[in-house]
């Protein structure tokens, strides 16, 4: 048997050639000092840049196409080879892309530990601090935005270490509300948590659905739990928890209260029946049709909701102003790019002041200068909320950054909490175990 296994192994060795991963065990790319960076693409000669992005939905596709065209017109010596993939497809293929011999120059990388963190650890991305100085990104972008693309060499903690990407857009998970319904119920958009409680109860009594919610994909449940966390927690502490810093714990009174609050919403019948089986897309479509007074979701819905609801839709930060937020997928430079200067100049071009206007004109929430854009209706609410949140200390990252498995664990545990499969204590224990396991593992 041993002989057989050995010969099989030997055969595979011949076939496979090498130890998996040996193709990628190259040098960690060196940092480029700001003084050496060339910033003018016109002086870079004939260059082809391969760009992998996931800007494929409606307004996203429009903005990136417009910006690429503008870049090509201005710098005809640089040829952009765009590879567009959906978010899921990009996430599944980017690993192979970055380790392959034909790696893209610029690629959109998800901020999480399992993506950007592990790529940094493997030395696959170019540190961009020198470029940030040369292109003045540090002046243009608030730290709350830039830090969501920072990792130390170990890839262990989001928000520390070197800069690895720049995002075009911002994202907030806030409170959408139906203005028509609020007016009919005789209430204002809630400014305090007590007003929010009262609004939910009033809506329920009047036979309206207080919160539109569908959790089949399990992500929306986490938005609700985060919202509840903002009520009882402190932004700074929540940020430490969300990014898995040393010494943080899930088992706090604030988190218990938050979990109980979400459960009470379910028990009071504030959610639609069978919310666990409703798709996220179906739930916002129902909200747009007028089913539900509030809907907790991200700013990525604002263009669609404005189109469907017109002036009836409003958006606000959670009462108390602490809010879950982040950026769109940052654009990063591959460590294997032969033209990192051109790649960084391209990133600069699609995130500069003019680009922000193109983004806003196509219905996207620009990462910076949101206050300078001419928008109306729902988008005005959204842009104003982002301008406030991104420059405050009260913007808390998503809960999926703490560990490589955090997204699955947090979304899964919240789903089970709402299904009464986990008690509040068990729920927090599951989250804590994930944190502990990953600490021990590293």
């Amino acid at each position: 048997m041993r002989g057989f296994a050995a010969s099989l192994a030997a055969l595979s060795l011949v076939l496979a050639g090498c130890v998996p991963g040996s193709g990628s065990s190259g040098q960690r790319p060196a940092e480029r000092p700001a003084g050496e960076v060339r910033t003018d693409p016109a002086t870079m000669g004939e260059v082809t840049l391969t760009v992998w992005d996931q800007e494929v939905r409606g307004g996203q596709e429009k903005q990136i196409t417009a910006l690429n065209d503008a870049f090509q017109r201005k710098f005809p010596n640089i040829r952009i080879k765009r590879v567009a993939r959906s978010f899921d497809d990009l996430r599944s293929t980017v690993k192979l892309g970055l380790t392959g011999a034909d790696a893209p120059d610029v690629v959109q990388v998800n901020n999480g530990k399992q993506d950007m963190g592990s790529f940094v650890k493997a030395g696959l991305l170019q540190p961009l601090d020198g470029y940030a100085t040369a292109h003045k990104w540090t002046e243009r972008m608030p730290d709350s935005v830039l830090r969501l693309a920072k990792y130390p060499d170990s890839g262990a903690v989001l928000g520390e270490g070197k800069l690895y990407g720049v995002a075009q857009t911002g994202e907030l998970v806030g409170l959408y509300y139906n203005k028509e319904k609020l007016a009919k119920l005789g209430i204002q958009a809630p400014r305090t948590w007590e007003e929010f409680d009262a609004a939910l109860a009033t809506a329920k009594r009047a036979g309206e659905l207080p919160i539109q919610f569908g959790n089949l994909e399990k992500s929306s449940g986490t938005y609700l739990f985060s919202l509840a966390m903002h009520r009882y927690g402190k932004a700074e502490e929540e940020t430490r928890l969300a990014t898995g810093r040393d010494g943080v714990t899930w088992n706090t009174d604030a988190n218990k209260q938050a979990a109980r609050l979400v459960l009470s919403w379910a028990d009071n019948g504030y959610f639609p029946q069978g919310f666990a089986g409703i798709k996220g897309d179906d739930s916002w479509a129902a909200f747009a049709r007028g089913e539900g007074v509030f809907h907790v979701s991200g700013t990525w819905l604002s263009a669609d909701l404005q189109a469907a609801m017109g002036d009836k839709a409003g958006f606000q930060l959670p009462p108390g102003q602490t809010v879950t937020g982040g950026t769109g997928l940052p654009f990063a430079v591959s460590g294997r790019s032969k033209n990192p200067d051109a790649a960084a100049a391209y990133i600069d071009f699609i995130t500069n002041s003019a680009a922000m206007k193109v983004l806003a004109d196509n219905g996207n929430l620009p990462a910076t200068e949101a206050d300078k854009q001419a928008v109306s209706g729902l988008n005005k609410d959204v842009f104003a909320a982002w301008q406030t949140a991104s420059r405050s200390a009260q913007m808390v990252p998503y809960l999926d950054y703490a560990t490589v498995t955090a997204y699955d664990v947090v979304t899964g545990a919240t789903e089970q909490l709402l299904a009464k499969q986990l008690s509040v204590e068990q729920f927090l224990t599951v989250l804590q175990d994930d944190l502990d396991k990953n600490r021990g593992g590293r």
């Binding site: 192994a9 595979s12 060795l13 996430r91 399990k218 089986g277 409703i278 089970q416 299904a419």
Partner: protein, 290 residues
Amino acid sequence: MAAAEPRRVGYLYILPAFLVYGLFLLFPLLHSGWISLFSWDGLTLGTFVGLDNYAALAADVGFLSAFGHVAVLLVFFAVLPVSIGLVLATALSRTRIRGMAFFRTALFLPQVVAMVVVAIAWQRIFAPDGALNDLLRFVGLDGLVTAWLGDSGTALIAVGLVGTWVQTGLAVVLFLGGIGKISTELFDAVRLDGGGVAREFRTVVLPALRAEIGVALTLTVIAALRTFDLVYVMTPQGGPGGSTTVPSYEIYHRAFHSGQVGSAAAIGITLTALAFLITFGITKVTGRDR
């Protein structure tokens, strides 16, 4: 004409097919087997761990429950369709039906439609305000109304039922073809002996369909074992409480998301071995006189 030894040159004829087979099947299979011997995150250099990945699977809760779920799916994807198919095919063959070709096509249609389309259509049917719950309310069974795909008690069964719907058509069409080949004299003989439908089924149809049953079981069992698209689309993230994870989903998740490529390959090899064993068993039992 001598029954000559197959000449060496004969191998030359299979060479093109073998090359393709080797390049696209054998090589990836062996490569997977090789990767399964490593602890590898898909990015950095892997470390050789021998059979540790396989040993770890034996105690891996996620892996074991995935195989438990696929065992349930085997009933819905293979046992039920073949049983229903036998009954339906026998019934259809006994009566002259106008537009038989139409019904045969209609029954087979689920096989032709892309699984993702099937999954999205059924997702709508199983939705809390979907057709199934509407029907239950209409006939007064309000107590059964539930979020089929959002409840850890019903999600796997809901996915399984779609499998039954898809695979039954295949079984019926296969069995109808088989029954068509049976000589009518055999049916006449049973009737002369005073035998009824049940006896006709047992003594004529069932033995004659042995080969078709073997084919149907092989195809449906493999479909059950490799189920991915249905669960992936209908119940995202492994379903409520992880109640619909299947081995293929575990492979996808470990290889592309959680950075356990070695473990993913080990599951893949285990699944391949299992599929091989089961289909080998089915052929042994049903394929004797082929």
